[in-house]
Amino acid sequence: MNQTFGTDQILFIVGALRWTILLTVFSLLLGGAAGFVVALMRVSPIRAARWAAIGYIGVIQGVPALMLLFLSFYGLPLLGFDLPPLVAASVSLALYVSGYLADIWRGAIQSVAWQQWEASGSLAMTRFQQLRYVILPQAMRIATPPTVGFAVQAVKNTSIVSIVNVVEVARAGQLVNNATYEPFRVYGLVALLYFAICWPMTRLAARLERKLDVRRQR
């Protein structure tokens, strides 16, 4: 006998949204920090650092997020970490984010006009000072629209952790669907919830992109 799709079911799914948001924020913060380091390595004058970064980004971008999830899920215990699935899931999401953000930010750094490197260098600034005061501030502006755009991906990506039974909104939907057999209503609601989070971010990214284009043409 199936359950009916009623208020309880709806609240259960909506409640799972907090895990989706938590996972997204965590993956963006940790992945962002790691991605920042990798981006700097990618543009470093030290060849070994550059190649390590190229390899890292290449691997992350060349494998499905699902594989990163399983590798973390089965791999972390082998390193001695006996952690709940939520942690393995978060680590894998952060890995995924770090590879893509590193590439985006590398592109932004390389977009800053080479004349800015020359001008700041000719004022006797060290590479660190050049990055900190002149290059990175400008790169950050360029990086903002694609970073916001990627954040949308990060939100959608959290859906894969449903396979290790982390009850974020996609998993909540599966559980309710298994009980009620109302796929249109259940997954319709789930889709709506994702849409409600992602669409404003997509629009924000588009607006930031337009603003940036206007500024650059001046």
């Binding site: 691997v59 971008q61 060349g62 494998v63 499905p64 997020a65 699902l66 594989m67 399983f70 590798l71 089965y74 791999g75 082998l78 949308v152 959608k156 990506n157 859906s159 894969i160 449903s162 396979i163 996609a170 939907g173 599966q174 669907n177 796929p183 249109f184 997954y187 319709g188 789930v190 889709a191 994702y194 849409f195 992602c198 669409w199 997509t202």
Partner: protein
């Protein structure tokens, strides 16, 4: 307890894994072709279809872009039977890939089309080309050539995304990996092998797409090639 890598059992099941590779390639190839076709059609439609149809297309694109592939897959596989359309897992997977990629591809191609300078259109018209010829040689082919790198990245993402189809028990590479790991209990080794295979597949796909690009879009605009053909 110290962990030792034991790949033996994984190699013993390699035929299962190869079967998965085959299925991944099948899903990717069909999905990419259909998705690209849909993307071109949708990109072309602007200006040619009535306003409310364009509105529906725009809405569909926004929905696809702002919801996860997994949910789209579930809606198609679990939802369509309720309105009488019963698809098996593989068919549902291909349909979802097409619908998903079509939306992203249309956006990428639109950007390429928008970037064609109006003077190109004038040039084509002044050469007495029909509207369709202008579109094909002066607009579409140069636009595709320009955005081919972006499309390549999107296609690779699509191929990697076929891993999600394992959620509805399609026996592609990820699905076969979970079969193997549950048989052998060597989970970590299995997923290392499969991850490396995915890496090789994405490199291979990039190479193939690059080659396609060189063949389909040789240097020089479509307009010039057409003119040379007419001489």
């Amino acid at each position: 307890m110290p962990f030792t890598f034991t790949f033996g059992p994984v190699w013993a099941h390699f035929d299962t894994i190869l079967g998965g590779v085959g299925e991944t390639l099948y899903l990717s190839a069909i999905g990419i072709l259909l998705g690209l076709a849909l993307g071109v059609a949708l990109a072309m439609s602007r200006g040619l279809v009535p306003g409310f149809v364009q509105g529906a297309i725009d809405a569909y694109i926004e929905i696809i872009r702002n919801t996860p592939f997994l949910i789209q897959l579930f809606l198609i596989f679990f939802g369509l039977p309720l309105i009488g359309l019963r698809l098996d897992a593989q068919q549902a997977a291909v349909l979802t890939i097409m619908v998903n990629l079509g939306a992203y591809a249309s956006e990428i191609i639109r950007a390429g089309i928008d970037n064609i300078h109006p003077s190109q259109l004038e040039a084509g018209a002044s050469l007495a080309m029909s509207k369709l010829q202008v579109f094909r040689y002066v607009v579409l082919m140069p636009a595709l050539a320009k955005v081919w790198p972006s499309l390549t990245s999107q296609f690779v993402l699509t191929m990697l995304g076929t891993s999600i189809c394992s959620f509805i028990s399609v026996q592609e590479l990820s699905g076969s990996a979970s079969v193997v790991e549950s048989d052998t209990f060597r989970s970590f080794e299995t997923y290392i092998v499969v991850t490396v295979i995915y890496l090789l597949l994405s490199l291979l796909l990039r190479l193939v797409l690059f080659g396609c690009g060189e063949v389909l879009f040789p240097r020089g605009s479509g307009l010039r090639r057409l003119m040379e053909g007419q001489r």
